[in-house]
Symmetry: C2
Subunit: 332 residues, 2 copies
């Protein structure tokens, strides 16, 4: 295992500590275990926005703590759901009287623990709501869309929810905006190499020297197609064809797109994907607003990329444009 | 060669096109070959700031075109100096009457071509100045510091020069500020894997499965030590020891630090480096201002990282804090 790390069993805590040391105006931890990353000060008088999930996807999840984004985030082990305790502490921190929205990637452990967390919070008279993010079209068909995994679409849902809460919307309205964002996101990825979980010490899966896999999950879950490497334009077309079949876009539609690197792919190659995507969208009469190109939702040293398309309406476009402040978000 | 690219001979032009399509408010190209990346509009009434260099290091060089940074940048082939023509076009674009500062990484081709460019520009009555960046302490000893390669320190010099020009300093003062920044920067890197030049099609160098190299250049130039992988704290200590020997820092010093990923290293690991670095600096009584952690100067899919320390005085600290706007810069 060729990683720049110390003892694998301290990996998560040490990375979180590094994040807080590098950005002390944005991030702070509660408790000794560094499993709750939160804003340095709770933002009063607004709905709290919380998430949580397994580690190894930075900036997802905890990197998006910041003004106009998440107020707090529970941090799990690598690729493992956080316990209920840090989730509940995150909810308590984020609640300043207006209730708390929990944004949950669609994974069994995360859902179960957030369900229990919200039950516990309600017993403490904290109003809660949940939005499940399930944007990965490769992980289940449209008739079973509720089974899809949550991947880079999380970033958009964090952003929309954070902007809605910052704008003073109440819990119901913030939740509705976040749910709308979640419904509007579709993603699919391509993997070129595996990641390695530090405590496992070996690659999560094997892939040939000139082989790629379409539809791979961000923990290395199997995709929908494996075959030889192709030119980036062809790979991009394949990704977009999958997204198009799931939700056709056409003349006059407005979208935001995220071309996301999985961790080890040069940003140059992400711009090649964006170039092809832009051409396809232009040809179809689809307008791109606020594109993002970079590493937004990663799998440590996995090489590859994903494309997320969020179809916009006026409300989503407005909320997307509200400035936010975290080290991993670029304002319009 | 496992890359998400099209024809290697179109690699540079297509990436640059993608950058301009993704960020049309920031970047534009002149000419058919996309070898001059420039701001969408020339900023009038200030010193122009220009750079240029080989491709494959995005965001260095061209990614730093933007408000408060570079006005224009000449784009070469992968790891090859741009020709004089795009350099001269970049200088012409950036000149709005106050002269142009050229920031040049310390490589033979870049230096020679910028020397000729400035001579040609002077014949057109454009006042020019040059600052050479040579921050890589591993590439030559302190007695031959003028031979050192320019690496991630370029980012700081771009930022300081851009801020000085934006603040209305004249060419001499902008040049002096940029030269001070260059003198204040020291860098060293560690490589874990090689990059691959698209037109070469195979890795630039071989390195063992569990081997690392300290002091490697951003084109794969040989480093100063090769040996077995160590824990990240030990690797960080080695990097910092090299920097310390070259320029000791102590109680009361103020620095900015850039923990830079070379392209394929997970950001999580960069935060581990930052964590150790922060501890060392704290123990030494050195204050860190505006740390940066991320991929700022890359070598495509090279895994590894570099550490750059810029020692601050009041002027550098003030100029560093001036807001800038490009997709790859995060303001304080």
């Amino acid at each position: 295992m060729k990683k720049l790390i110390n003892d694998p069993s301290n990996y998560v805590d040490e990375v979180v500590a590094g994040m807080c040391l590098a950005y002390p105006d944005v991030y702070a931890v509660d408790g000794e275990t560094a499993r709750i990353l939160r804003r340095t000060r709770a933002a009063k008088g607004k709905v709290g926005v919380v998430s949580g999930g397994g580690f190894g996807h930075i900036p997802v999840f905890a990197g998006y703590v910041g003004d106009g984004l998440l107020d707090a985030c529970a941090v799990g082990d690598v690729f493992a759901s956080p316990d209920m305790n840090p989730m509940l502490e995150a909810v308590r921190f984020a609640d300043t009287g207006a209730g708390v929205l929990c944004i949950v990637g669609n994974y069994g452990g995360d859902r179960m623990n957030f369900d229990m967390t919200c039950e516990m919070a309600e017993m403490e008279d904290i109003a809660t709501a949940r939005v499940i993010v399930s944007d990965d079209v490769a992980s289940a068909g449209p008739d079973e869309a509720e089974k899809r995994r949550g991947v880079a679409g999380l970033v958009y849902v964090f952003k929309i929810a954070g902007a809605a809460a910052k704008a003073g919307m109440d819990l119901a309205a913030t939740t509705a905006a976040a749910q709308k964002a979640s419904n509007a996101c579709r993603s699919i990825g391509v993997a070129m190499s595996s990641c390695t979980v530090p405590q496992a010490g070996k690659p999560t899966f094997e892939i040939g020297d000139m082989e790629i896999e379409i539809g791979m999950g961000i923990h290395g879950e199997p995709g929908v197609w494996r075959g030889p490497l192709q030119p980036v334009d062809a790979v991009t077309d394949t990704l977009l064809d999958h997204l198009d079949r799931d939700r056709p876009l056409g003349q006059g539609d407005r979208v935001s797109v995220l071309v996301n690197g999985l961790g080890a792919t040069p940003v140059e190659e992400l711009f090649l994907i964006y170039r092809r995507l832009h051409k396809r969208m232009s040809n179809a009469g689809v307008e791109i607003v606020h594109p993002m190109v970079g590493n937004y939702a990663t799998s440590m040293e996995m090489a590859g990329a994903s494309v997320t398309i969020m179809k916009l309406d006026g409300e989503l476009e407005q909320l997307l444009s509200v400035p936010a402040d975290c080290p991993f978000w670029r304002n319009l």
